[in-house]
């Protein structure tokens, strides 16, 4: 394992320290916790939004804290859901009296820990709602299992719910629009190489020189299929077909798309993917209102990428385009 770090057990603490030191005007850390919040938190009279999860997905989630997106982000250990007390601290730090929405990615650990935090907060009289993002169509959607994972589509939820909260909407309204995004955003990813959790010291899986994995999760969870390395155009077609299959997009509809790098895939390759994706969308006569390309929900230094498609309407368009001023996402 080759990484720039000091102590594998201190990576999250040192990261948060370095982050807050870099952006003192934008962020502050709730002392003694792994929580970063807006420098001006709590914002009186505004619904607060808290997200988070295991670390290793940077810029998610701390990079999305700021005006127009999240009020607070809770960082767990690398790829490990944060504990309820930490989430509770975040809720308390951002509650401006209008309640707090928790944006949870659908992983058993995240759901349970955030849920327990919500229970703690409600016991203290803070109104809490939660939404669970499950955009990953690589995984079968079944009520008999824990269902689909939350991956890069979560960033759309952050952005749009954040804009809604900023507009002065109520907790119910913010929850409703978050759920609208969740219903309409689908994603799928692939990887060319694994990543290494610092404390584990070795890669989460192995791929031969000519292999790639379709449907890999953002924690290095093995994907759903292993194939030889395909050309970029075939990769994009495969991912988009699965997403489209689920969204059932029809001619004339408006969509926003995200091509998300998982860590070590150069932007060059992400744009090469869009070379194909933009053509596919045009062929299907879809109107692309926005294309977001970059690293938003990473998996440490994994090589690979995901595609997310969000079906738009007027409300979502307006909220996605609304101003945001966070460290990683500015509009």
């Amino acid at each position: 394992m080759k990484k720039i770090l000091n102590d594998v057990n201190a990576v999250v603490d040192e990261m948060l320290d370095g982050m807050v030191a870099a952006h003192p005007k934008e962020l502050k850390r709730v002392e003694g916790t792994t929580v970063v919040v807006r420098a001006d938190a709590p914002v009186k009279g505004k619904v607060g939004i808290v997200s988070g999860g295991g670390s290793g997905h940077e810029p998610a989630h701390g990079g999305f804290v700021g005006k127009g997106m999240l009020d607070g982000a809770v960082a767990g250990e690398v790829f490990t859901s944060p504990t309820p007390d930490q989430v509770f601290e975040a809720i308390k730090a951002v509650d401006g009296g209008e309640g707090v929405l928790l944006v949870i990615k659908n992983y058993t650990g995240d759901v349970m820990n955030f849920e327990m935090a919500g229970e703690l907060a409600e016991a203290e009289g803070i109104k809490v709602k939660q939404v669970v993002v499950n955009d990953d169509v690589a995984v079968e959607d079944s009520s008999f299992t824990s269902g689909r994972r939350g991956i890069a589509g979560t960033v759309f939820v952050h952005k749009i719910a954040g804009a809604m909260a900023e507009s002065g909407a109520s907790l119910d309204e913010v929850e409703a629009v978050a759920n609208k995004v969740i219903k309409n955003v689908k994603s799928m990813g692939m990887s060319l190489s694994p990543c290494t959790v610092p404390a584990a010291g070795k890669p989460g899986f192995t791929l031969a020189e000519n292999e790639m994995e379709i449907g890999t999760g953002i924690h290095g969870e093995p994907g759903v299929e292993r194939t030889e390395v395909l050309p970029a155009s075939d990769i994009v077609k495969t991912l988009f077909a699965k997403v489209d299959d689920d969204l059932q997009l029809t001619s004339g509809e408006e969509v926003a798309v995200m091509i998300n790098g998982l860590g070590s895939t150069p932007q060059m390759e992400l744009y090469i993917m869009n070379h194909t994706l933009s053509k596919l969308l045009k062929e299907k006569d879809l109107n692309v209102t926005e294309t977001i390309v970059g690293e938003w929900m990473t998996s440490l230094e994994m090589a690979g990428a995901s595609i997310s498609v969000l079906r738009m309407d007027e409300q979502l368009k307006e909220l996605l385009a609304a101003p945001a001023n966070t460290v990683a996402f500015k509009r």
């Binding site: 490990t80 859901s81 504990t83 007390d85 650990g109 995984v139 093995p222």
Partner: protein, 210 residues
């Protein structure tokens, strides 16, 4: 032999030891069908539990177990944190101010723990989770008034290895679908270590007391 505050501490110390020794194994199991952090999570959690036991003294088994629960909830994270944490929390509540537990009382408490896991995680038997150790194991011994700890240890081991053939439906391994078959569930392994530690502690106690 009755469980006391002292033997409960021995149980947890043994569990900690086994978790630390098997940290890499647990991580390997989790890398195969999950995200590779179960060993790290449990190791961190038990290290903190040991600190809690050192820094505080507990008069009753219930308080002790609740203290452990809070540490697990606050330090483990992931799926296993809330699950083990909830289990210990409910066990502690059930045990209450007792300073001694008969086998029957201990089984009742463990049963509470099992129910807490199921309530929190909503998994059923056969879905390839730690539930596949807890539920059938406690079921097997539910009629006993005196537990044969050697038998329990062997049974726990069987339940644990039995998860190998299961097709995961809950937890991260569920994403793998059929590819999850052939691997032991990491949480089942750590649960086995918990029961193994308990069994060994009880057997040592019996030997010492004649």
């Amino acid at each position: 032999m009755n469980l006391t505050v002292k033997t409960t501490i021995s149980w947890l110390e043994k569990f900690d030891e086994k978790i630390q020794v098997n940290k890499d194994l647990l991580t390997d199991l989790d890398q195969a069908i999950g995200d590779g952090d179960h060993g790290i999570n449990m190791s961190r959690g038990l290290t903190e539990v040991m600190k809690t036991l050192e820094s505080k003294s507990f008069q009753t088994i219930g308080d002790l177990i609740k203290g452990v629960a809070m540490t697990l909830i606050g330090k483990v994270g992931g799926a296993s944190g809330p699950l083990y944490g909830s289990a210990f929390l409910k066990m502690g509540a059930k045990i209450g101010a007792k300073e001694q537990l008969s086998d029957e009382e201990l089984l009742e408490a463990l049963k509470e723990g099992e129910q807490a896991i199921i309530q929190r995680g909503k998994a059923s038997v056969g879905e390839k989770t730690m539930v596949d150790v807890w539920s059938p194991l406690l079921e097997d011994f539910s009629q006993e008034t005196h537990i044969n700890w050697e038998d329990l240890k062997v049974a726990a081991h069987e339940k644990m290895t039995g998860t190998k053939d299961l097709h995961a439906k809950k937890g991260r391994a569920a994403y793998l679908g059929a590819r999850s078959v052939g691997h032991i569930d990491p949480g089942a392994m750590s649960s086995y270590l918990l029961f193994e530690s308990l069994a060994e502690t009880m057997m040592e106690g019996e030997n010492n007391n004649g």
